[in-house]
Symmetry: C2
Subunit: 130 residues, 2 copies
DNA sequence: CTTGAGCTTCCACTTGGTGGAAGCCTTAGG
DNA sequence: CCTAAGGCTTCCACCAAGTGGAAGCTCAAG
């Protein structure tokens, strides 16, 4: 099947699919006309990538997961470890964003937001804590 | 003052300071020997950048904020609008991460994580919902 | 036969810097 | 006075994870 069809079936844009091939995440065959020819297994890999990227795994992590996916003798512990460390990372990001949110929200509430030039937000950014 | 001192006072690495100059966020003078020469006003701008980047504003937003900072006739409403839209963006990111976290956490709990190859995480990523 | 869509490759651009090389400048020590 | 270390300069390359666009081939329909 052509890249357009593989794109529809995987939910990934053609550009992204070619990119994934570039970086060695899959290697579809080629038809006589030079067009890429995707098997159903290729489409499975693409959908796997689409899902795992969507879950926040980096491309390198996806490469690892794909390799584990293809290895019927893998140990589930290995997959779980990757997922758990990703979970920790997500928790860290959430905490960071919550802290940011609190600070910014405080500043926004302190600012009148009218035609006058006085602005606690700018004052804080400038480091003039009064 | 030299870039090293400005770096210490602003908390930004010299490389970053040069980069900010490259993209037009500040333009320090030059000493006779060709070294950049930072005024205290330059350091204020750098600290402003350090703070606002740390609060999650993009470089372009920082450029806007800096311009408002330097404009004594600005209206605080303009600053507040930028900060509020950033707040909305942060909220969106937090929600997204929370959803991710829930999905991933669910998968992690479902996985035995032992020497056996059976792995619900991989099965989910592959799209095999049973 | 021609037109348009789909496919190919390749190169550039994005964000926000970071790393390193090659070459001045300055300052302290021997 | 010479030298070595460290700081400064520029420039070029690289990171993630793609996206946009140009030039050119192929394929299917009218």
């Amino acid at each position: 099947m052509n890249i357009g069809t593989a794109s529809e079936k995987s939910g990934l844009p053609p550009k992204t699919i070619r990119y994934y091939e570039d970086i060695g995440l899959l290697s579809p065959g080629r038809a006589d006309n030079g067009y890429r020819d995707y098997s159903t297994a290729d489409v499975h890999r693409l959908r796997f990538l689409q899902r795992s990227r969507g879950l926040g795994f980096s491309v390198e992590e996806c490469r690892q997961l794909l390799s584990l996916y293809g290895d019927t003798h893998r140990e589930s512990a290995e997959v779980k470890a990757i997922a758990e460390s990703k979970l920790v990372e997500i928790d860290r990001k959430i905490a960071e964003l919550n802290a940011l949110r609190a600070t910014l929200s405080h500043l926004v509430h302190a600012c009148h937001g009218d035609h006058r030039p006085e602005c606690p937000i700018l004052e804080d950014l400038a480091g003039h804590h009064h």
